[in-house]
């Protein structure tokens, strides 16, 4: 369940923001992620950001994946 896709916050006005995914843009709500900033990637579900993507953790995961799959 729960289609949520990573979207980039382009601008914020109050509790609304403009989110961008590869040029597709839509106005979304940041009511659930008041800490989101311009430049953050958020998980976008039905027009609401439900979480801010942790860029560091993403890097860590990719690093781990590469190590795992090299070592075998």
């Amino acid at each position: 369940m729960c289609l949520a896709i990573p979207a980039l916050i382009k601008s914020i006005e109050g509790q609304q923001a403009v989110a961008d995914i590869e040029g597709v843009t839509r106005e979304i709500s940041l009511q659930l992620t008041p800490e989101a900033k311009v430049g953050d990637y958020v998980l976008l579900h039905t027009g609401y950001a439900i979480g801010v993507i942790d860029a560091e953790e993403a890097e860590e995961t990719l690093k781990l994946l590469r190590e795992m799959t090299e070592a075998g």
């Binding site: 369940m1 729960c2 289609l3 949520a4 896709i5 990573p6 980039l8 995914i21 590869e22 979304i28 709500s29 009511q31 659930l32 992620t33 008041p34 800490e35 990637y41 998980l43 579900h45 039905t46 027009g47 609401y48 439900i50 979480g51 993507i53 942790d54 860029a55 953790e57 993403a58 860590e60 995961t61 990719l62 994946l65 590469r66 795992m68 799959t69 075998g72």
Partner: protein, 364 residues
């Protein structure tokens, strides 16, 4: 797409599969709880690619499939009221209740509109002040906070014609209920990634502690799912079940506190009727008294008769992981996506629709 394409890398996927094949010895049963995971697994052909000693079962994590017939009948009855606009996510519109569907009601003259977001429904409420806009609230803890937010926004902006029919349900209680039924023996569970973005990983701890079931909180791309299966295999082979977050970019242990707070402000926990399973205590979300002005169930008190499930339909057993669609006598013969009999065939992420769409067991 950033944070998506990297996790579709076929090279990483192939290497993870090799790793899983190497490390997995025991015959194990894993359940992917969430409908979104079911679809992703089929779409990328992961069942074919995983070694045969890993058995994958699909669980009841499809909020559309588990919406009780009576609840749907109530929504359809509301659609037929004068000066009402029903707004719904696309998923619900073709699901058959006991007699009809929202789509059929629309064909008969009801004003049923599909929206992408509760905010779109709020906009319709503002643009149609002389109508009552009823939003059909389905979904688990991923969606419930967004609906809660829409109710708070309606209150703030003094929108008086917006109502929510809350059919929201929660995940950890249904996981416990399924296990307590004792019908399935599971070694591991792939936990829903976006529900967990909201609720975190702690609510699943009881699965590891009390049921000795390995848990991995997974994302939805093929590499994410394989990473989760890899974690489960490791936990099971080492005999040390725990709850591991493999979707680390999306889920924190404590979840999203702001979302949880909003959800708690608007909703209270109550029992819920799960189609094919029955009433499960503490698994549903009802709108609190403070916000009863937005509660469609209170404002439009509609009585509907008890629904009977269609004869021969085994959606219940499929949802509980006891049977696969292939064991259903109606599957593919009488029950098809064009003519669905049960909810598992209508919902785009229902097991039956997925099996049908992606050709599992079609004997090619």
């Amino acid at each position: 797409m950033k944070y998506v394409n990297e996790y579709r890398d076929p090279e990483l996927g192939k290497k993870l599969l090799e790793r899983i094949r190497r490390n997995s010895r025991k015959h194990i049963r894993l359940m992917e709880f969430c409908g979104g995971h079911t679809v992703a697994i089929f779409k990328h052909g992961l069942r074919q690619l995983l070694p045969s000693n890993i058995e994958m079962l699909s669980g009841p994590g499809c909020p559309v499939c588990v919406t009780a017939s009576m609840d749907l009948d109530r929504a359809i009855a509301m659609a037929k009221l004068p000066d009402v606009i029903i707004t719904s996510f696309g998923d619900m519109v073709r699901v058959p209740g006991s007699r009809s569907s929202l789509q059929k009601a629309k064909a008969e003259g009801a004003d049923v509109r599909i929206v992408y977001s509760a905010q779109d429904a709020l906009k319709m409420a503002k643009e149609n002040p002389d109508k009552a806009i009823i939003f059909i609230g389905i979904g688990f803890e991923t969606t419930a906070p967004t609906i809660a937010a829409s109710i708070l926004q309606a209150e703030q902006e003094e929108i008086k014609n917006y109502f929510v029919l809350s059919l929201h349900k929660t995940c950890p209680p249904i996981m416990k209920a399924i296990l307590d039924l004792g019908e399935v023996k599971l070694d591991g569970i792939i936990c829903p990634g976006h529900v967990s973005a909201v609720i975190g990983s702690r609510p699943y701890q009881f699965l590891a502690d009390d049921y000795q079931i390995a848990c991995a909180v997974s994302g939805f791309e093929p590499v994410d799912i394989l990473l989760a299966v890899d974690s489960l295999v490791e936990q099971i082979e080492s005999g040390q079940p725990k709850v591991e977050i493999t979707y680390r970019r999306g889920v924190k242990e404590g979840g999203n506190p702001a979302a949880l707070k909003l959800m708690d402000a608007v909703f209270e926990v109550g029992s819920a009727d799960w189609r094919g399973i029955g009433v499960v205590p503490e698994s549903g979300l009802q709108i609190r008294k403070r916000y009863e002005g937005f509660d469609a169930a209170k404002r439009f008190d509609i009585k509907v008769s008890t629904a009977k499930e269609p004869k021969g339909c085994i959606c219940g057993a499929v949802l509980r992981g006891v049977s696969t669609p292939l064991e259903c006598k109606l599957f593919r013969r009488l029950c098809t996506p064009e003519n669905p009999i049960g909810p598992c065939m209508v919902s785009s992420e229902g097991s039956c629709a997925t099996y049908y769409q992606y050709g599992e067991g079609s004997g090619r």
